[in-house]
């Protein structure tokens, strides 16, 4: 117990340095003011103790001083504000091209799903030196994904996706905590993040799995009858989902939303919430029929349908056209028609290379 007394957390992500730097700055400011105030109190208390200063001198105040000690702290905190907001902004905006891991929190465990298909519980394997984005949801109450060594934390909410990201810099095993109180075994909802050398990770990732997440999603897409309405031709009653992901979608009430994971998820579980312009609210809700894992598979699949045309902005779908303009990209239609197509086939640029 006494052998090691760590007083500082491991520093294992690209964020850690930024957070620590600001932390030390704040520690310095705090130390400065605490020592200043304590020293002044001590000094005054001794210097002006009754035996040395039998009669107090009344001083009513000094506007100059008041301005000074309003102004200086104000200046300091404004600097801190900018500094800390920059860090926060970095942390809330994942870089593009990050690899993605889905997480489902439930009382009281973490379930992870890699796009390649690996599933893990309370353990998360990630490669060193890659950007990893977590896409997370909860099956019940609010949880919180917290890896102190990465200095990141994000609440995991029921009913929607939240996300965070990190870029691990040092291989090793790090604590993973649930940091939002979630009931009896809250303190047992812990695990570890295993940061591996790229090669080790690839070996791990290519271990036996039965197909990628998106292909699992494709199966569900058939199994639950999504494909009856969402077809590549104009015959479907629902919009063609090719190329939808990541694009702005015009809604029937005039708003525009971006088709991100949360939107796709909502479209499946709560289709009435946002209606794509030009369509009727006929899609049944799949709430209660799909597990969170299946939803994640479907999301990954819809995402894979959209990926191929990532660098070609499409117009917003036209009202009443019945279909989305299909991306004039070969991969797009290939993905739709080819039964055996797996996401790597569609995500041509950059990603597959990096993944393999």
């Amino acid at each position: 117990m006494w052998s090691n007394l760590p007083l500082f957390p491991a520093r294992a992500s690209s964020m850690a340095g930024h957070v620590d730097a600001l932390y030390f700055a704040l520690v310095a400011i705090t130390a400065f003011f605490t020592i200043l105030i304590s020293a002044l109190i001590l000094f005054f208390a001794l210097r002006f103790r009754k035996s040395r200063s039998p009669q107090a001198t009344q001083i009513h105040g000094s506007t100059a001083l008041e301005l000074l000690w309003t102004g200086i702290p104000l200046g300091i905190v404004m600097i801190i504000f900018v500094w800390s907001s920059v860090i926060f902004f970095m942390q809330t905006r994942p870089p593009k091209g990050a690899m993605e891991v889905y997480a489902v929190g439930k009382q009281w465990m973490w379930k992870f799903q890699h796009t390649e298909g690996q599933r893990e519980i309370n353990q998360l394997h990630v490669p060193v030196g890659r950007d990893v984005r977590m896409i997370m949801t909860s099956q019940d109450v609010i949880h919180d994904f917290y890896v102190p060594a990465f200095r990141i934390k994000a609440d995991v909410l029921p009913g929607r996706y939240t996300s965070t990201w990190f870029h691990a810099t040092v291989p090793g095993r790090y604590h993973l905590f649930c940091a939002e109180y979630c009931g009896t075994q809250h303190s047992g909802m812990v695990g570890e993040v295993v940061v591996m050398e790229a090669g080790d990770y690839d070996r791990w990732a290519s271990g036996a799995v039965d197909g990628s997440l998106a292909s699992a999603g494709e199966k569900s897409f058939q199994q639950y009858g999504c494909s009856m309405c969402h077809r590549a031709d104009a015959a479907g009653r629902g919009p063609n989902l090719v190329g939808v992901f990541g694009r702005p979608v015009l809604l029937d009430d005039g708003r525009t939303v971006t088709a991100d994971e949360s939107y796709v998820r909502e479209s499946i579980l709560n289709p009435g919430a946002k209606i794509a312009s030009g369509f009727k609210n006929i899609m049944p809700t799949f709430e209660g029929q799909l597990s969170e894992e299946e939803v994640i598979g479907l999301v990954a699949y819809v995402k894979a349908l959209g990926d191929g045309s990532a660098n070609l902005p499409l117009p917003v779908n036209e009202p009443n056209s019945g279909t989305y303009p299909v991306a004039p990209k070969a991969e797009g239609s290939a993905a739709k028609s080819d039964k055996t197509a797996t996401p790597p086939a569609k995500t041509v640029p950059a990603k597959p290379a990096a993944r393999q």
Binding site: T92, R93, P95, K96, R133, G246, T258, D260, A310
Partner: protein, 102 residues
């Protein structure tokens, strides 16, 4: 307290009549399609009615400045509650990770 004007029965009846008229008006307007203005008009009428009640029935008009300030303060802090909460809800969509850097 003594010394300043008090509303008379006549004022009360007039205010009452005005309130009834405004009620009829707001019900009437509700059947017209004014697009985004329906809620605005309805709330404007409601606020007029509320002011009538406050100023005359509740005699706020004849009350001390302190009382008036208290009411204004309540409304002000309510606005803060609504406004700052909306600052979250209305900007949630903006921070979709996809937009800025793609």
């Amino acid at each position: 307290m003594a010394g300043h004007a008090h509303p008379t029965v006549k004022t009360f009846v007039a205010v009452w009549a005005a309130l009834l008229v405004l009620t009829a008006l707001t019900v009437g307007v509700a059947t017209l399609n004014l697009g985004p203005f329906n809620p605005i008009v309805a709330l404007a009428i409601a606020t007029t009615k509320a002011l009538l009640v406050l100023l005359f029935f509740m005699e706020l008009r004849y009350s001390t400045a302190l009382t008036k300030i208290s009411v204004v303060a309540a409304v002000f802090f309510l606005m803060l509650l609504v406004g700052l909460t909306l600052s979250d809800y209305l900007t949630r969509g903006w921070s979709s990770y996809i937009n800025p850097f793609r």
